[in-house]
Amino acid sequence: MTDVGDLEEELRALGRTLIIDPPADDLAERVLARLQTARPGPAKRAWRWLVRSRRRLLAMIIAALIIGLGLTPPVRAAVLEWLRIGGVVIKTGPPPAVSPIPEPPPTSGPTLTLDEARRRVDFTLGVPTELGAPDHVTVSNDRRVVSMQWGSGPSRIQLDQFDGQLSWVYIKRYWEDVTPITVNGREAVWLGKPHPISYVDRNGQERAEQARISGPSLVWQRTGGSTEVTLRLEGAPDLERGLAIAASVR
């Protein structure tokens, strides 16, 4: 006679072994597209909100046209807006055939001291007390991005900071790995899997030569001086560690 407890376990195990295809990659986009024409209540409000934000979105839409999803403009706007944190835009796409392997971020430009880096940019730099003084500090040639690095090899941690305007485009290709979180009470995201990332220059052009596969990363915002600074932390082993580092930025 089978024990009831065993049978319950067996049924749960059965549930876990059933193969069911994941939802379509563009499900969220399709739902959003339909909400704009859906019935009263929040739908209409959301639509108005999207229309209002169209103006400030315009430049970003241009920047992100490179990876067209074949969607109509309002839908594209919605897709972009819901995946935007400061200067970072996250896009969904079909999963790649093979898992991408993260490539370490390039070390570019001469190593500077923190003070030298501070003088070169218009926003206030933060440093995570959790990691202490960085081993390397560099500023991009266009003086928009400050990168700090700690350690080397696979355990290297990199923190990029930039004015929270239109600076980067992330292209996310996994469906399930954008985790919404809160850092200091503000909206942030954790990208738990390797993902393609590319840089968008001042003219809104994506720089293909600077595209690479990023490791898991945390993206959040803080107010630095009079500007909104976007921060992107790459190389934290998990979300918990990433949040501890993010919370310690002073």
Partner: protein, 184 residues
């Protein structure tokens, strides 16, 4: 499992933001809960229409968002909508389809591990067949509680039945399955 302790935005907070007009927040809810919604739709026999059922369910959820109560839990509330949508689908398909439905059609549910011992996979196949033979009301609670691993409270909300009914149906279903499995 989601870890709220380390700062992940809760469903309730996302709903509040969605009600304030943030499409972003609702999109997060879609992405978070679409996988289990799809599993439920397939287990309820939606087959090739499962993605449509899930999409319709989210659109309806959005329209009804002002009626959502945080105490219900977003997941269970959403699944109750998926359940209704699946039933509507069966109605529109007619009787023949309805017979094939529930707990999925065999060809859509394959067992995961081909390396697994034949004896174990054979037993699972037979258990799945036994679940499928259960009367509909018992099969529903078994599907929610065990195959989808919802709590008893969530099962009650998803199926829109009282918690006590969930308990008694689960009890009957397990007795029923236990007899079948031990006779095999």
């Amino acid at each position: 499992m989601r870890n709220q302790a380390i700062g992940e935005t809760t469903d309730a907070d996302l709903v509040t933001k969605a009600l304030a007009g943030e499409a972003t927040a609702f999109a997060h809810l879609v992405r978070r809960h679409a996988p289990i919604a799809k599993r439920m739709a397939v287990l309820w026999g939606a087959g090739a229409d499962a993605d449509d059922v899930v999409q319709d369910a989210f659109v309806k959820a959005y329209s009804a968002l002002t009626r959502f109560r945080a105490s219900t839990g977003f997941r269970a509330w959403l699944l109750s909508i998926v359940h209704n949508e699946s039933r509507n689908l069966h109605r529109s398909r007619g009787r023949r389809a309805a017979r094939e439905s529930l707990a999925g059609r065999p060809e859509e549910l394959s067992i995961l591990d081909p390396e697994e011992e034949a004896a174990i996979s054979d037993r699972r196949d037979r258990l799945l067949a036994s679940v499928r033979r259960l009367p509909a009301e018992l099969r529903d609670v078994v599907t929610c509680r065990y195959l989808l691993e919802l709590s008893e409270a969530e099962t009650a909300i998803a199926l829109n039945i009282p918690a006590g009914t969930v308990k008694s149906r689960l009890h009957r279903a397990l007795q029923n399955l236990r007899t079948e499995v031990s006779h095999d």
